[in-house]
């Protein structure tokens, strides 16, 4: 076997998710989970090059206003202007630089700019609700947006989602890929939301709640919230 082939068969596997830190596949109170998730057990896959590599180079250029959802239209969107910032780290505590973060969200009235959203709340012509950015060398990202509203859904009688921003993060590997939701502190809807409640561990759940941050807050302009994201990282020892 060639030298290159030898090197390529030595893999540094990634950490597995700790018990209770992730939602189960099927969570009955979230009613669409049983029909859209496997009944048979997943097959445990030792990591190979296919899992520990992933799209790290970004697949489209980032435009100047992509991380400022309040400057993407002719006028300013209605709502409470906020700054959302934080760091992307791996589970070893190392910053993940230059990784793509994408967000999407409802407007201040709780309405998505989407043909399938039938919530009778107003659309805002100045708010599309999508943003993207790359983390810097220290894994730091920053978005300017407006605080999304809560909105009703049809999961159960009188079901309302707590205000949230969807986050999509790549990390360094296809297995570190993470799509999640960021919530706001003290939301009274947490107790009634099966998506938030699907995470078994209370501490893990709270990791999805951003923290109000006075240092990030800018006087006479916008409230600041901090939301750090941890993606899976590699084990210390390589494996052949």
């Amino acid at each position: 076997m060639s030298k290159v082939a030898n090197e390529r068969s030595v893999i540094r596997p990634y950490h597995r998710y700790p018990e209770g830190s992730q939602p189960p596949r099927v969570y009955d109170p979230y009613r669409s989970t049983p029909s859209r998730n496997p009944a048979k057990p997943l097959i445990f896959l030792p990591h190979t090059l296919s899992e520990i590599t992933g799209p790290v180079y970004g697949h489209t250029p980032i435009a100047e206003t992509d991380n400022d959802l309040t400057r993407q239209h002719v006028g300013e969107p209605l709502g409470e202007r906020i700054i959302v910032t934080g760091r992307v780290l791996d589970d070893n505590g190392r910053p993940v630089p230059n990784t793509l973060i994408e967000i999407w969200q409802a407007n201040a009235a709780g309405r998505y700019q989407h043909q399938r959203d039938q919530h009778p709340a107003p659309l805002d012509p100045n708010f599309g609700g999508a943003g993207r950015t790359l983390t810097d060398d220290n894994g730091v990202y920053r978005f300017v947006t407006i605080k999304p509203g809560a909105y009703p859904w049809l999961n159960h009688y009188n079901a309302w989602r707590p205000a949230h921003i969807h986050f999509s993060v790549f990390g360094r590997a296809f297995l570190s890929r993470l799509i999640t939701q960021m919530y706001f502190p003290g939301d009274p809807l947490f107790a009634y939301d099966p998506i938030y409640q699907s995470i078994p561990d209370e501490k893990a759940r709270q990791r999805l709640v951003s923290k109000f941050d006075l240092e990030t807050t800018q006087p006479q302009w916008a409230l600041g919230f901090r939301f750090d994201i941890v993606v899976r990282g590699p084990e210390a020892t390589p494996f052949e």
Binding site: R8, S35, I43, L45, T48, T60, Y112, H166, L208, E240
Partner: protein, 188 residues
């Protein structure tokens, strides 16, 4: 491990706003890339065999020489190759990609992995993405693939893309999220 990873949450029914309206990538390999070009048509189905019209599929694959465009792999000889694709499913639960057939690549314990594409499925009702693989039906390398060897023989078929008899160069792959024909998903 010092930190516990952030929990996953569903991408929800409106994932298109942030991920695919402007930023879908259906050309996994642009036309300049070396290799056998193919079209891949994926379909996502639920427990009743009904099309899932609000899913997103992401694909990650090696180039025709079996190399990933990633700093942890050996440098790809083909500078045009990227290897990532993503698309939302339509009303029929389908989405299409254009790419090249990947090469074989090293697996654990001096094994060789057969040509395959790595797949992640996101959707409303999926709290944590589902990972599967697409292999090519009839490829002799499948017989010695170390990952297929982990799958019970009677379920390996669910991981095979099949040539579309009506469209030469096109392959089809159905993802059954649950049910009698349930696709094999991996715990990665």
């Amino acid at each position: 491990m010092e930190h516990v990873p952030t929990p996953s949450q569903t991408a929800g029914p409106y994932l298109h706003i942030g991920l695919t309206n402007k930023h879908s990538v259906t050309q996994i390999a642009p036309p300049a890339v070396f290799g056998e070009r193919l079209r891949l048509r994926c379909r996502v189905l639920d427990v009743d065999g009904a099309p899932v019209n609000d899913a997103m599929i992401e694909i990650w694959q090696a180039d025709q020489a079996g190399r990933y465009n990633h700093p942890d792999d050996a440098p790809s000889p083909d500078g045009h190759f990227y290897g990532f694709g993503r698309a939302a499913t339509d009303e029929n639960g389908t989405c299409e990609f254009e790419t090249v057939r990947p090469g074989s690549l090293p697996g654990p314990n001096n094994t060789t992995q057969a040509p395959h594409l790595n797949v992640a499925v996101f959707a409303r009702g999926i709290l944590l993405q589902l990972h599967t693989r697409i292999y090519f039906a009839g490829d002799a390398a499948n017989d010695s693939d170390p990952v297929l060897a982990l799958v019970p023989a009677e379920r390996r078929e669910t991981l095979m893309a099949r040539p579309d008899p009506e469209h030469p160069g096109s392959w089809r792959f159905d993802i059954h999220l649950r049910g009698d024909q349930e696709t094999v998903f991996f715990d990665v």
